[in-house]
């Protein structure tokens, strides 16, 4: 009997402690950092719904928040339905193959991929892969090139006219050229990548190149002179000098470049996918527009919000990477 009451006693103690710690955690959160952003969003939703109700297009009324929410649910349902179909397809295929093998163990069984309609989520995944691949390729070229430009005045002066001329070119102007070059040069029986994937990725890479290149060069060129003198006094060999002094010192600027690059890359990718009908979110938007149903605009609006949220998330990921890599822990990163 006493044991039970003791037990109950300690349980209520525990829950009290839990409550106290939850309370402490909640009071630790800055209310303003939650309330103000919420206010902003609520005001935006209000203005949006009022404005939407007053715009009539040939595809029906402009979608308000409610309509968009409904369509995002339906996109999710379509995705689930498609998943089920795919699962059923593979199940059938497996059964068929198993039967064949049971009849004749030597039988030549074929495994085919499910080729259903691309869902919204599949398109998002394609776009993400494309932008990351393009961004990676661009960074692999831009960072070393930026370091060389920052170190050598001669190289910088040599490169500068090219950088200045090609930087303002919209990568979409390159798109036809890239498409032709990829289809001419990338000939393989067993291709690693789809050609359309490479077209979009290289278009992204072309515009990711410049911000990283320029910021890296500026970062490297502006390393504190005293630090460079320390390296000269110690007589660090050239490669060690770059690895131990130049690169760490310019990490903040390199990351500024990377963030700008990824942001523009993501914007350009959507446009490139729309223009070239390469799979991805851009194609989804264009297909919905061509489809012209009464739900199209709402579905496009879902895509717009998804594009925004993903762009935001990508930027945060780079920011977190910068916080992990950079020595400048006190820097205010926005």
């Amino acid at each position: 009997m006493t044991a039970i009451t003791n037990n109950a006693q300690s349980k209520s103690d525990e829950s009290n402690q839990l409550l106290a710690s939850v309370g402490k955690y909640l009071s630790g959160i800055d209310i303003k950092s939650i309330v103000y952003p919420m206010m902003g969003i609520i005001i935006f939703l209000f203005i949006w719904s009022v404005a939407a109700s007053r715009i009539d297009t040939s595809l029906g009324q402009f979608p308000g928040p409610a309509h968009v929410l409904e369509q995002s649910k339906s996109l999710y349902q379509e995705y689930q339905a498609e998943q089920d179909k795919a699962a059923a397809f593979y199940q059938r295929q497996e059964d068929r193959n198993a039967k064949k093998l049971a009849k004749n163990p030597e039988a030549n069984v074929k495994i085919r991929k499910y080729t259903g309609k691309e869902t919204f989520f599949a398109q998002i995944l394609t776009s993400l892969k494309t932008v990351l691949f393009g961004f990676l390729v661009a960074s692999l070229f831009a960072i070393p090139l930026g370091v060389v430009c920052g170190l050598s005045d001669a190289v910088y002066k040599g490169m500068n006219p090219l950088i200045q001329i090609f930087k303002p070119v919209s990568p979409l102007a390159w798109l036809p050229l890239i498409t032709m070059v990829v289809s001419a040069l990338y000939v393989s029986d067993d291709p690693w990548f789809e050609k359309s994937f490479l077209n979009s990725a290289f278009t992204v890479a072309l515009c990711c190149l410049w911000p990283t290149l320029i910021n890296t060069a500026v970062g490297v060129a502006n390393v504190d002179k005293d630090l460079l003198n320390v390296s000269r006094v110690i007589r660090l060999p050239a490669l060690t000098h770059v690895r131990k002094i130049i690169l760490p010192a310019s990490v903040p600027m390199i990351f500024t470049g990377l963030r700008l690059s990824l942001a523009t890359g993501w914007m350009v990718l959507i446009a490139a996918e729309m223009l070239s009908q390469n799979p991805g979110l851009g194609k989804f938007v264009w297909d919905e527009f061509q489809n012209g149903s009464s739900n199209s605009l709402a579905r496009i609006m879902v895509a717009v919000l998804a594009i925004g949220l993903i762009g935001f998330a990508l930027d945060r990921i780079i920011l977190i990477a910068q916080k992990v890599v950079s020595w400048d822990k006190q820097a205010v990163l926005r």
Partner: protein, 284 residues
């Protein structure tokens, strides 16, 4: 003729400017013996840091040259390690790593990893920074940073330790503390030191010899004053000593009464630009 340990021989340096060639230093000439503590003092902008940079090999003299143990100095090296005014610690390396950076390069192939570790720790202990070995530079005070800068310099076992206004950015108490530490270490290791300073008390307290430089342009050595005070020197006792005050007065009179100007033609030219402006422009 007896060979001196370190010889600054008729050094002159010119910088090209938009208004033609600017002569910052002309015929700077003095000699330093092994184990000597020499201060170079002058008004700001007279080119005293330029002299140090030429000894370090960071600048190349236009005329004349620097000879260390019979060999001309042409580029920077760890045998003439520098303590910078701005401490110049790598902000991404810990205190230990900052010192180790130099040690690993200088003693590559001579010391084992364990010996290098001991050597880094020994030098940090020498400047009383062994307690903060694994702190990052932004976590320690200005005076402590400068101690680490000194440890990094000492750990390279330089033939000459070059100090470019190392105490300039510190408050008076920290500065006094660090001056005492440097004097102690210098006595213990018998290091040759060249110290750039604009602080008269510091120069008299610490040096065996004070090289006083005239104002630029075309700055040169005005007077050289030997300080024959007993070591170890104790600042409170010295402040009452007549000899100390005599030396102090000598330096002050050079700097303020003679305006650091020795009569020679270049000094009579109009001084439109002070040499420091031009040097900063050059250094970018």
């Amino acid at each position: 003729m007896a060979n001196h340990f370190l010889e600054i021989s008729k050094v002159g340096i010119e910088f090209p400017t938009q208004n033609g060639v600017f002569t910052a230093l002309k015929d700077v000439d003095f000699k330093i013996d092994k184990g000597e503590f020499v201060s170079i003092i002058g008004h700001s902008g007279c080119g005293k840091s330029t002299v140090l940079n030429i000894i370090a090999g960071l600048y190349r003299a236009t005329y004349g040259g620097v000879i260390l143990e019979g060999k001309e100095v042409t580029d920077p090296g760890p045998d003439r390690a520098v303590v910078f005014q701005s401490h110049a610690l790598m902000p991404w390396l810990s205190v230990y790593e900052n010192v180790a950076l130099g040690v690993e390069q200088v003693f590559k192939g001579q010391k084992t990893a364990a010996e290098m570790k001991d050597w880094v720790e020994h030098n940090l202990a020498l400047v009383k920074m062994d307690h903060a070995m694994h702190k990052m530079p932004h976590e320690i005070s200005g005076g402590m940073k400068q101690r680490v800068g000194i440890a990094r310099c000492l750990a390279m076992q330089p033939k000459v330790m070059l100090m470019d206004e190392p105490f300039g950015a510190l408050d008076a108490l920290t500065r006094a503390n660090l001056q005492d530490s440097v004097m102690e270490i210098q006595k213990e290791l018998d290091t040759t030191v060249v110290l750039i300073t604009h602080d008269v008390d510091e120069a008299v307290l610490m040096s065996d010899k004070i090289v006083m430089m005239s104002n630029g342009p075309a700055a040169k050595v005005g007077e050289i004053l030997d300080i024959e005070l007993e070591r170890p020197r104790e600042r409170v006792a010295l402040s009452k000593s007549d000899q100390f005050n005599y030396y102090r007065q000598q330096v002050l009179s050079f700097l303020y009464e003679k305006k650091g100007v020795v009569s020679f033609d270049a000094a009579k030219k109009t001084q439109q630009e002070t040499s420091s402006d031009v040097i900063e422009k050059q250094a970018g």
